[in-house]
């Protein structure tokens, strides 16, 4: 199994930390992992993206241009990465602010209204964990047990009190995800 993922959105949406938690969880589950951020001027406001690879084998290139899954959190990123999903792959997006929804018919498209839901619950800070939950519902590449371990490893100890809230957000995301168009 090799899963090549791009996570893309605005800086501040928790794109990089979501990727980090996923990578940590994979590592805890004894998978090979890589996490490659865009660290360019994007970091200083604007779009941010990270590619994450989780695999049973040694990872060749952490730098990839085609993805099994694209997790898209704004229109700019959708415009940029919709074409980079491998045929038969998955595109998961948050429809908030997306005026032109994805058009491809050779991939599986899902949406998760995590921005809306997290605002409604007053939990904007765990928005990214809802998106992660939605992704794991579609592709359970790591199990819940290891998400918890990944959180413990990636968060500093003083923040470990927040882990239950994060795990709850993962659950919410799993319930929230909707198939838009699948093959």
């Amino acid at each position: 199994m090799t899963e090549e993922i791009i996570i893309a959105g605005f800086g501040g949406q928790g794109v990089l930390s979501m990727g980090k938690i996923l990578a940590y969880s994979g590592a805890m589950q004894d998978k090979e992992v890589s996490w490659m951020p865009s660290y360019g001027p994007e970091m200083r406001g604007g779009t941010a993206n990270v590619s994450v690879i989780i695999s049973d084998q040694r990872i060749s290139s952490p730098i990839i241009s085609q993805f099994d899954t694209a997790i898209i959190l704004n229109q700019q990123s959708l415009d940029k990465f919709e074409k980079s999903v491998k045929p038969g792959g998955v595109l998961l997006y948050d429809p908030n602010g997306v005026i032109n929804p994805p058009k491809r018919t050779d991939i599986n498209i899902y949406k998760v209204s995590a921005t809306e839901k997290s605002a409604e619950l007053g939990l904007a800070k765990v928005f990214n964990m809802m998106v992660l939950g939605a992704y794991l519902k579609i592709k359970p590449v790591v199990t819940e047990e290891f998400i918890e371990k990944g959180l413990m490893k990636s968060l500093p100890e003083r923040h470990h009190g927040l882990i239950p809230e994060n795990l709850k957000a993962v659950q919410t995301g799993k319930e929230l995800v909707e198939a838009v168009r699948t093959l």
Binding site: K20, A23, Y24, A27, E32, V33, S34, W35, M36, P37, Y39, G40, P41, I59, S60, S61, P62, I63, I64, S65, Q66, K153, S154
Partner: protein, 362 residues
């Protein structure tokens, strides 16, 4: 040795390795894409645990001269920077080489020329392997391709630097510096005691007792005959490195009709291109130089007798390709492919280049 699993960026791995390998001092000046090295050291505060000094200098010129001072007294000292900062250090590097001082210099390369860009590049190959500063000298150049190697090569770097009394450069790039991967770290190696330092660096200027001559650390020798003799000694040392210290890795080369030659992050990308190529029935392998000086001339010469063509892949306009051509001596076609100026080539582009420049061109 107990092995502990961590998930770290390449830059952080260099910093962690410094602490764990018994480094005495790190002197640096921040620059993207390697700022995490000093950032990590400052957060870890090794001076409280091992006594290691971490100091932000006022410029790269200053940090490399602090390295010169520390190395002169036999300490394990290092610095890191990225391309424009490394250019500023060139005077210090040739002085270190001239005075035969051990040190580690990590260059996390970004696109140039000039201030260039903050994105990854491999366009400093010439600077790292062909001098950079003035005079006939060589840095020992290691090219890590993984976060694990960023860590391991700090340990290896001390070994080489002190064995040969020569500065060692760890030549990586923004991609290897920024990527986070699994890393296994070992036990802490304590810093040398004064007795160990005298044993491991007997030439150092650590304080003169009454019963011996001065230990003089200098690269200046105004008597040309003596300077020539000193140069002969340096050259003999470089030849010995070429004899004994060449390191490289081959992947999928057993049945290969073609090979890529690539180091660092381009070697990772080339590995993916190999998978894509083999899915299409193209038998391609990879030779990955791990030491860029000394360069793996012999294995490349051997492959040039067997394969139908070689494509070098580097994020530059073509620098290492010159060394590959010299080693191949026209026994097979050698072409170059690479994006540069901060753009990273994709595995698909690499495979396409192999098809266009080597396979179809025949």
């Amino acid at each position: 040795m107990a092995k502990e699993l961590k998930l770290m960026k390449g830059n952080e791995a260099i910093a962690e390795a410094a602490i764990r390998s018994g480094c005495d001092g790190y002197f640096g000046y921040p620059i993207t894409p390697q700022s995490e090295v000093m950032e990590y050291l400052m957060a870890e505060k090794p001076w409280e645990r091992t006594g290691m000094v971490v100091l932000q200098a006022e410029s790269e010129t200053s940090s490399i001269n602090m390295v010169y001072g520390g190395a002169g007294v036999g300490k394990k000292v290092m610095t890191s920077s990225s391309s424009p900062g490394i250019s500023l250090m060139q005077e210090g590097l040739t002085y270190l080489a001239g005075a035969e001082l051990p040190a580690i210099i990590a260059n996390v390369v970004r696109g140039g020329p000039g201030l260039g860009t903050i994105q990854p590049s491999q366009a400093d190959y010439f600077q790292a392997t062909k001098g950079g500063g003035h005079g006939d000298y060589q840095l020992f150049v290691l090219a890590p391709a993984t976060v694990q190697e960023m860590y391991d090569f700090v340990f290896l770097g001390w070994e080489i630097a002190f064995k040969y009394r020569n500065p060692v450069m760890i030549l990586s790039d923004g991609a290897i510096g920024q990527v986070m991967e699994k890393l296994y770290v070992g036990d802490y190696v304590p810093r040398w005691t004064d007795e160990e330092l005298k044993k491991n660096a007997p030439w150092a200027s650590y304080g003169k007792p009454a019963n011996r001559e001065h230990h003089i650390i200098t690269s200046l020798e105004l008597d040309s005959a003596k300077q020539e003799e000193h140069n002969h000694k340096l050259q003999a040392k470089y030849r010995e490195m070429e004899e004994k210290e060449v390191r490289f890795e081959t992947i999928d080369c057993e049945d290969a009709d073609y090979i890529f030659v690539a180091y660092g992050s381009s070697a990772r990308i080339a590995q993916k291109a190999i998978q894509l190529g083999r899915e299409k029935g193209i038998k391609v392998g990879l030779l990955r130089p791990i030491t860029l000086f000394p360069f793996p001339k012999k294995p490349i010469a051997e492959f040039s007798k067997k394969v139908k063509g070689i494509l070098t892949v580097e994020m530059s306009a073509g620098q290492m390709v010159e060394d590959v051509r010299l080693a191949a001596e026209f026994r097979c076609p050698v072409e170059h492919f690479g994006r540069y100026g901060g753009i990273i080539h994709t595995p698909h582009e690499v495979l396409e280049a192999l098809e266009e420049k080597i396979i179809k061109a025949k």
